[in-house]
């Protein structure tokens, strides 16, 4: 008899829906059906059973083809690569568990690596802005229960976070919002009319590249100051009307995405959006939230935060201190300047998302990619190691876009003999210890601080 697993957390986007119901075959090996998830989430669970799944590591041969190798071989090759390289880029993490990240960080500390996550090409701009000006925010349930003015600025949840609007931001009837969307005024600000704009009460078209100016004008208008006749293509009367309406609200929430992080101004766009939100708190309650993309990029930021004190682009290659400087320790810049000797990608696909020049540089270095699937990155790697899908075949902690932590569930067994991220990284960690110990014994009176490395192997929580 197939059985239903309830309260399942969807491991795809930052909405982190946790009301998914999965029907699983009796032998616990196959997902038969998915309820409540959006199309993207459903596909994440459903594709688990599709044929063609890579089940064992693949090593690139001299002629460019891939040959299957054992996990032991893959682990040994990876550990050797990490130990040999003086500065490795360990990038990704956004689609694996916090428990896996923790093990990865240990490896990075002892072998000398930079740990970076997808924020580096996504909400990194937002993180920089928050490092400058802070952020007044809230949990998504506060939006559901209190928000009566909702602004989507430069984001398109209809496509990128499909259930966001029904679970949190437009439609739900909450404690103080019993009328649902009828009790809310929804604004959508974008340079183009998106499917999210279709769900809004009012769409404001901002001229491309003028988000900063428009946010600035909103801020000035909120403070009662004069603004130009038009800003970013929006007439001042409209700006003043909107500000007037926002001030009538009891709880304003601004959601934003790549329209602000990746258009002219970048982190400055977020900076001024945050400052606008902060200023609005002089008149009524206002909060702002980044629409985080991956289901656990936030988690990577949190684990890096509590272990090293920075949210992304953490350089551990000096072994005795952690460093973070956008432009210096961020992945794309490191690759562009050819500053790493090896690449370790996990739970992401930089081949698909990074600038081409960065990937050309990457492809010239020894590269290991850990991913359940064949993707753009695996095809330019030397070694591809498949692992169980977190949130589907193995449990693990994830952080939602509002930083709420939720432990994802194991719904089905992974394919026979397949390792999980935690198992794989733990074994790589052990192999690294063995290699370092052997190296140490072999070269007495060797270089600097190898004691620290060996001791580190035993240290840590």
């Amino acid at each position: 008899m197939p059985k239903e697993v309830t309260d399942v957390i969807c491991p795809f986007c930052g909405t982190l829906c946790d009301d998914i119901v999965i029907t699983v075959s009796d032998d616990n090996k196959t997902i038969l059906g998915v309820k409540n998830a959006c199309a993207i989430g459903a596909e994440k669970f459903n594709h688990q059973r599709l044929p063609g799944r890579v089940k064992r590591p693949r090593m690139r041969q001299a002629d460019g083809t891939f040959k299957e190798v054992s996990y032991d071989e893959a682990i040994d090759w990876t550990a050797k690569m990490l130990v040999k390289s003086r500065k490795t880029l360990m990038y990704g993490w956004a689609s694996t568990s916090c428990q896996a990240m923790s093990v990865g960080h240990e490896i990075a500390e002892k072998t000398g690596a930079i740990v970076d996550n997808c924020a580096t090409v996504c909400h990194g701009s937002s993180l920089i802005a928050i490092e400058d000006v802070g952020v007044p925010s809230c949990t998504l349930g506060e939006v559901k229960n209190r928000a009566d003015r909702v602004i989507f600025w430069g984001c398109n949840p209809a496509h990128a976070h499909p259930r966001h609007m029904s679970r949190y931001s437009i439609f739900p009837r909450g404690f103080f919002t019993v009328k649902g969307h009828k009790g809310r005024k929804i604004y959508c600000v974008d340079c183009r009319y998106t499917d999210t704009a279709k769900c809004a009460d009012e769409f404001i078209q901002v001229a491309q590249g003028f988000d900063y100016e428009l946010l600035n004008a909103f801020r000035a208008a909120a403070r009662g100051e004069t603004i130009p006749d038009t800003v970013g293509g929006v007439p001042k009367e409209k700006i003043q009307e909107i500000i007037g309406d926002l001030k009538q609200g009891r709880f304003i929430i601004i959601f934003f995405g790549m329209g602000l992080t990746h258009s002219m101004g970048r982190n400055h766009n977020i900076d001024i959006a945050i400052n606008l939100t902060r200023d609005l708190n002089d008149f009524t309650k206002a909060a702002i939230m980044a629409m985080r993309g991956h289901w656990n990029v936030t988690g990577s930021g949190q684990v890096l935060g509590w272990q090293y004190g920075f949210p992304y682009a953490v350089d551990l290659s000096r072994r005795d201190q952690a460093r973070h400087q956008t432009g210096e320790t961020t992945s794309v810049d490191l690759l562009n300047r050819n500053e790493v000797e090896a690449c370790f990608y996990i739970a992401t696909d930089p081949g698909a998302h990074f600038p081409v020049d960065a990937m050309i540089s990457s492809s010239k270095k020894p590269t290991v990619t850990v991913d359940p699937h064949i993707n753009c990155t695996t095809e330019i790697s030397d070694l591809h190691i498949p692992v169980a899908m977190v949130g589907v075949e193995v449990e693990g902690c994830a952080y939602r876009m509002d930083n709420v932590p939720i432990e994802t569930r194991k719904v089905v067994d992974p394919p026979e003999g397949m390792l999980t991220d935690v198992e794989l990284l733990t074994r790589i960690n052990q192999r690294v210890d063995e290699l370092i110990a052997a190296e140490s014994a072999a070269s007495k009176g060797a270089k600097i601080e190898q004691h620290a490395d060996k001791a580190m192997a035993k240290g840590g929580a």
Binding site: E106, E142, A287, G305, A322
Partner: protein
């Protein structure tokens, strides 16, 4: 397991009333014992001070707002991010250390237990992930209840039993230790941009007052018989004149008696009292009311407190008193982080620079010290910095130096630019008292252990108790006379034993120990009303399913569970 004999040390143990006598302490299998065999390893403590491992009753070390403080302040890692000798991971952060550094630094100072002061129940998994990653020290966390919708509704209707049943449920879901109450009612008001500044200001919509919340939570705490008492951060923190709100709040505990099987003697713990002991009506005439507050406190024996000493550093303030942080940001314009948590609480973070050139900060510094120096019962008054709010916990040795040496604190006092104004507005210059090592042991070991309900096994060196032992390079007969010497001695133990294992030797971390997560599991009668209310609120108002709310067992691999039976 190992046996040790710590020989010839000067022992300070308030549990046994030992005030510096030379005494040997025997350790076996993680406990202090009467004696050990000849194969025991000898630790020479000649000319050194021996105390139980210290307990920090209130510190912000693990959780969402702590971490926000870390990652939104990359500058906090300047100058203080490196590995120290010993087997450590990378350590980082000055005012908000990373989890590795937190564990190591507390252990280097001889601390064996730290209470995470405020855990938002919805984020409990985060708190426990950080506790899990913090090495050596035992930790627990206090879930916050003072702005929780269930509590507001139950206490409005004076349904103590229902409130207690809900609290028991939360303690189990979140692996929590007790009842924390921060800015009662005010943080729920803050979700609408408002606040509650006196104990009679009603909470918007819920129409309950802070007085009713505090009283109700004390009653619920005693109904359950928890190891710790209700732990309150009063309304109106940080504002001139707020000492009246403090006295109003403390008075709510009059006549209440503690009910528990743990030796706890108080019904209310008032935290970081320094921030709540201000007179005057503006920052222009703010003055110390520490004497008035301590007069009341000393007379009322069912109260405990911790100081919240200002250390005069650049630090990071963080609290579930969300409206206060917004207010602080308006004062100093430094970056403001805020999060409101559905149905439960909120939090804010703002950096702050305490400066000896700023009169108000000097007055705050004096008040914190006065509270400790005016206390008549060191078993009820504990030393903290509300880390990191009034200063980083790594400054505890500096605070001890001010409390134990009039010369050292007067030196600092007279170095202030506006020393005259500070002296006029405070009592500090008149106070001659210097805390002794014995009193320090009461205020940092035996006292907090009693207040937390842990006195049976922690905070002392009697046989049978846990072998958490700190040995300092302090010869009581030649007590150091300068500030830096006192600080150095307390900052780097000669030895720190945790559960009978040497984890720190000569200030260096040598073993990670086997830390435990402490939490309280209360059995209450089945309560169908509360079960129904929980189900309903999760279905309708939370953004998370009830099935995903509890902290999984794997997050706390080593649990020290204190069982309480509240089924009458």
């Amino acid at each position: 397991m190992s046996e040790y004999i710590i020989k010839n040390g000067h022992v300070f143990d308030p549990v046994q009333g030992i005030k510096g006598d030379k005494k040997d302490i025997a350790v076996k299998d993680g406990k202090i014992v009467e004696k050990v065999g000849s194969s025991a390893k000898t630790i020479d403590a000649k000319g050194k001070t021996v105390m139980a491992g210290a307990l920090d009753i209130h510190s912000h070390v693990a959780g969402p707002k702590v971490n926000a403080g870390r990652w939104y302040r990359p500058e906090d890692k300047h100058f203080d991010s490196h590995k120290k000798p010993g087997i450590t991971r990378i350590e980082g952060g000055k005012s908000i250390p990373t989890v590795f550094k937190t564990g190591y630094e507390y252990a280097r100072m001889g601390f064996g237990f730290v209470m995470e002061a405020a855990m938002p129940p919805m984020y409990a998994r985060h708190v426990h992930e950080e506790i899990h990653d913090t090495p050596i020290i035992d930790e627990a966390a206090l879930p916050v209840f003072g702005n929780n919708w269930f509590i507001l509704e139950y206490l409005k209707n004076q349904e103590i039993e229902n409130a207690a049943a809900y609290i028991a449920w939360i303690l189990r879901q979140t692996k929590g230790y007790g009842i924390k109450c921060v800015n009662p009612g005010g943080t729920e008001a803050w979700a609408w941009g408002l606040n509650c500044l006196t104990i009679h200001d009603p909470v918007p919509y819920f129409d309950i007052t802070p007085a009713e919340i505090v009283t109700g939570l004390i009653k619920a705490n005693e109904y359950l018989g928890l190891p710790h008492s209700m732990h309150v951060h009063q309304n109106d923190l940080g504002n001139p004149g707020n000492y009246t709100v403090t006295l109003d709040t403390l008075k709510l505990a009059e006549g209440m008696k503690p009910k528990n099987n743990f030796g706890r003697e108080q019904v209310l713990h008032s935290t970081h009292l320094q921030f709540h002991s201000y007179g005057g009506d503006s920052f222009a005439n703010i003055c110390s009311k520490s004497k008035e507050v301590m007069d009341y406190f000393n007379k009322n024996k069912n109260l405990t407190m911790d100081t919240g000493n200002v250390t005069m550093d650049e630090t990071t303030t963080m609290t579930a008193d969300g409206p206060f942080e917004h207010h602080l940001h308006a004062l100093n314009h430094l970056k403001w982080f805020n999060v409101d948590v559905e149905l439960e609480t909120g939090a804010g973070v703002v950096p702050y620079i305490y400066s000896p050139n700023v009169t108000v900060n000097c007055i705050q510094w004096a008040i914190g010290l006065e509270l400790a120096l005016f206390s008549k019962d060191p078993m009820r008054c504990y030393i903290t910095t509300d880390h990191p709010n009034a200063g980083p916990f790594t400054r505890y040795p500096r605070v001890y130096s001010w409390l134990m040496s009039k010369k050292v604190r007067d030196e600092f006092l007279h170095s202030f630019k506006t020393a005259d104004k500070v002296i006029d507005a405070t009592y500090i210059a008149e106070i001659d008292r210097e805390l002794s090592l014995y009193e320090l042991a009461q205020m940092t070991r035996a006292g907090p252990a009693m207040a937390l309900g842990l006195r049976k096994d922690y905070g002392g060196l009697a046989p049978g108790m846990n072998a958490d032992i700190a040995i300092y390079n302090i010869d009581p007969d030649k007590f150091p006379s300068t500030g830096p010497e006192i600080e150095k001695a307390f900052a780097n133990v000669a030895y720190f034993f945790k559960d009978g294992k040497i984890c720190v030797e000569d200030g260096k971390v040598v073993d990670m120990g086997h830390k435990h997560t402490f939490w309280v599991d209360v059995k209450v009668p089945e309560n169908k009303q509360v079960i129904h209310d929980i189900r309903e609120k999760f279905l309708k108002y939370y953004s998370l399913n009830e099935g995903n709310y509890p902290v999984p067992e794997s997050y706390a691999p080593h649990q020290h569970i204190i069982a309480v039976d509240a089924v009458q």
